[in-house]
């Protein structure tokens, strides 16, 4: 049997890990496991940008996958970037095994707003399903409510649901 591995990276208490597992299992119909992996975060840190390179984190995450790993999803509290962009909420391998999501910019406190753990967890669930969707080969979806709809601002995440639309579900089933 194969599993989607959910890997807390930063050591930050997630507080919603069980809900995240349920959400992922519901979206993709694959059982999940929560495990800690050996990821060396300082190696991915860019001192000029004071951010963590998500591509380097991803590389470490998938370096030695467990034999029963179908997909691996890393969750971190660090601020992530890819070289050309100022930030990313997460990164995934298209039709691959690994994905990573950051909580950093999902937290209202980052925008100078009062903390709202419920909203942050909701955003995390959506971004987790979104990035994992890419590992299943899904591209950004133009259906407004679909979780695979592209989000460049945090407000965009709040506009969409946690669910894959019918077309995206059909696409995965066909593969």
């Amino acid at each position: 049997m194969f599993y989607i591995y959910i890997v807390p990276i930063s050591g930050q208490g997630l507080g919603c890990i069980e809900e995240l597992q349920r959400c992922v299992e519901h979206a993709f119909g694959v059982k999940t496991k929560c495990r800690a992996f050996n990821v060396n975060l300082p190696d991915t840190f860019d001192p000029h940008r004071k951010q963590y390179n998500s591509s380097l984190i991803l590389r470490q995450l998938i370096a030695a996958p467990p034999a029963d790993a179908y997909k691996i999803l890393g969750i971190t509290g660090m601020d992530l970037f890819i070289p050309i962009l100022t930030y990313v909420f997460g990164e995934a391998q298209l039709d691959g095994i690994g994905a990573v999501v950051s909580l950093h910019r999902l937290n209202n406190q980052f925008y100078g707003l009062p903390e709202n753990p419920g909203l942050m967890h909701d955003r995390l669930l959506k971004e987790a399903v979104h990035e994992l969707g890419h590992t299943f080969g899904l591209l950004h979806c133009f259906h407004p409510g679909c979780v695979l709809n592209a989000s460049t601002y945090v407000e965009d995440i709040d506009q969409k649901s946690r669910e894959l639309c019918f077309t995206c579900r059909e696409t995965i089933r066909l593969k």
Binding site: P83, I84, L85, L139, H140, T152, Y153
Partner: protein
């Protein structure tokens, strides 16, 4: 345009930038490829079609600026976006001057990147649409209603093809209904001004003051009823063609104003003082004897010479009788579609009758005759009986025929139409029965 229809090529010597951009665009569904330097980028550009190229300004070997120049040589419509670090913004501005769509300063906000690509895709879509529309215009460059194969028409079309390539002022002469406006449109459609409008103004249908306002436009309050500023037809024809129909009908003041505009290409709106410069070609048309008007002093000689740089005289329909069948069939086909009729042709008798008529109203009259016949036609062909009453074939009228021959043929036609009824024929001819009997005897006609 769907994302999959858009090809994006990323040219950057940094693998991390290439990979990040590749993934970013791939997730949005675009067709993406990468190149790490200019030579391989140019090879990919030759091998496949790319709509958007993102290129780093600083690369080993050929830099981004030079690469952009090479790309524009391959396809000037490819949209180029420059990737730069803050330090080389000056170079990016140079790239913009040389045709780049925009530039990205690394690192870029994800939302700005999305907007930039959306705008670039929209620009590309508009370019494609523009090219398609131009192509459609090219395809209709000769108005389809110019029908005929007669030497007289071929001569006219040769002249159209010759003058269309120049910017010369053209005067089209011809009787009413010979298709002067169609020829003006054919000249415009085949000229370099074809992507700009051809504006027609019928000089004969306006009173002097109104024509002035139509041509030059007016400012708000220029005269009673001028409630707002209005652009004139000359302004609307900027970069295109102005077609002045019935030019022989304009008054003395208008002739003077028009001459000034032709000489300076500048004018002011009525009630305005701002000089407006315009760039247009003039095609004029008339069915009048302008030379006579010049001799009589009712048309300015200087304006006549300005307008009559290149002259095209359209043949009368009776001078191109071999085209009558083609034109008639063209109108049958046209009206059978628009009237949803199953009429597809004309009977040989009808064609014979059309050929014998002298068509004083030229093609316009022929069109009206066919249109009227189509309304009443019931069979698959237009029969002689479908032709409406006011139209009747004249005798074989030609300039060489004697008065007696004309009279004989006319009486014969009327007798044919009345089935030999002398009383009815005399009534139509407005002569007495006795006179008609005398003429039947004289010309040895059958009753």
């Amino acid at each position: 345009m769907k994302p999959a229809d858009i090809g994006i090529l990323i040219v950057d010597d940094e693998a991390s930038v290439r990979d990040a951009l590749y993934k970013w665009f791939k997730f949005d569904g675009y067709r993406v490829d990468t190149a790490e330097e200019a030579t391989s980028a140019l090879k990919k550009l030759q091998e496949d079609s790319w709509e958007i190229v993102l290129l780093d300004i600083k690369m080993p070997g050929m830099d981004g600026l030079e690469l952009q120049r090479q790309i524009k040589k391959i396809d000037k419509d490819i949209i180029t976006i420059i990737i730069t670090a803050f330090a080389s913004v000056d170079t990016s501005i140079q790239a913009l001057k040389e045709g780049a769509f925009d530039y990205i300063v690394k690192p870029i906000d994800p939302d700005d990147m999305s907007h930039l690509i959306r705008n670039a895709v929209e620009q590309r879509r508009l370019l494609t649409e523009n090219m398609q529309l131009r192509q459609q215009i090219e395809e209709i460059s000769y108005p389809e209603e110019i029908v005929g194969e007669s030497p007289a028409l071929k001569k006219v079309m040769d002249k159209v093809a010759t003058v269309a390539q120049t910017d010369s002022t053209v005067m089209i002469r011809g009787e009413s209904g010979t298709g002067k406006e169609l020829i003006a449109r054919a000249i415009h459609s085949n000229s370099n001004r074809r992507y700009f409008p051809i504006i027609t103004i019928n000089c004969g249908s306006y009173a002097e003051g109104l024509l002035e306002s139509e041509l030059f436009g007016h400012e708000k309050g220029a005269f009673t009823g001028a409630l707002y500023r209005r652009r004139g037809k000359l302004e609307m024809a900027d970069k295109g063609t102005i077609f002045l129909d019935e030019i022989g009908n304009i008054g003395e003041k208008m002739q003077m104003d028009l001459l000034r505009v032709i000489e300076t290409r500048q004018f002011t709106r009525l009630g305005g003082d701002k000089l407006i410069s315009v760039d247009f070609r003039i095609i004029s048309a008339t069915n009048k004897d302008l030379e006579k008007a010049v001799r009589e002093g009712s048309f300015r000689e200087d304006l006549y010479y300005r307008l009559n740089v290149f002259s095209i005289t359209l043949p009368q329909l009776r001078e191109r009788k071999s085209d009558i069948a083609l034109i008639a069939r063209f109108f049958v086909n046209k009206y059978s579609q628009s009237m949803n009729k199953t009429v597809t042709d004309l009977s040989p008798e009808t064609l014979d009758m059309l050929m014998r008529y002298h068509w004083p109203g030229n093609i316009r009259e022929l069109r009206n005759v066919i249109e009227r016949a189509m309304v009443g036609a019931r069979g698959p062909r237009i029969e002689v009986s479908d032709l409406a009453f006011p139209f009747h074939p004249s005798s074989k009228l030609s300039s060489e025929e004697t008065l007696e021959a004309v009279e004989k043929n006319h009486i014969k036609d009327i007798l044919d139409r009345t089935g030999g009824n002398v009383a009815q024929a005399a009534g139509i001819l407005k002569i007495s029965r006795l006179t008609l009997y005398n003429k039947i005897g004289k010309y040895r006609l059958k009753k």
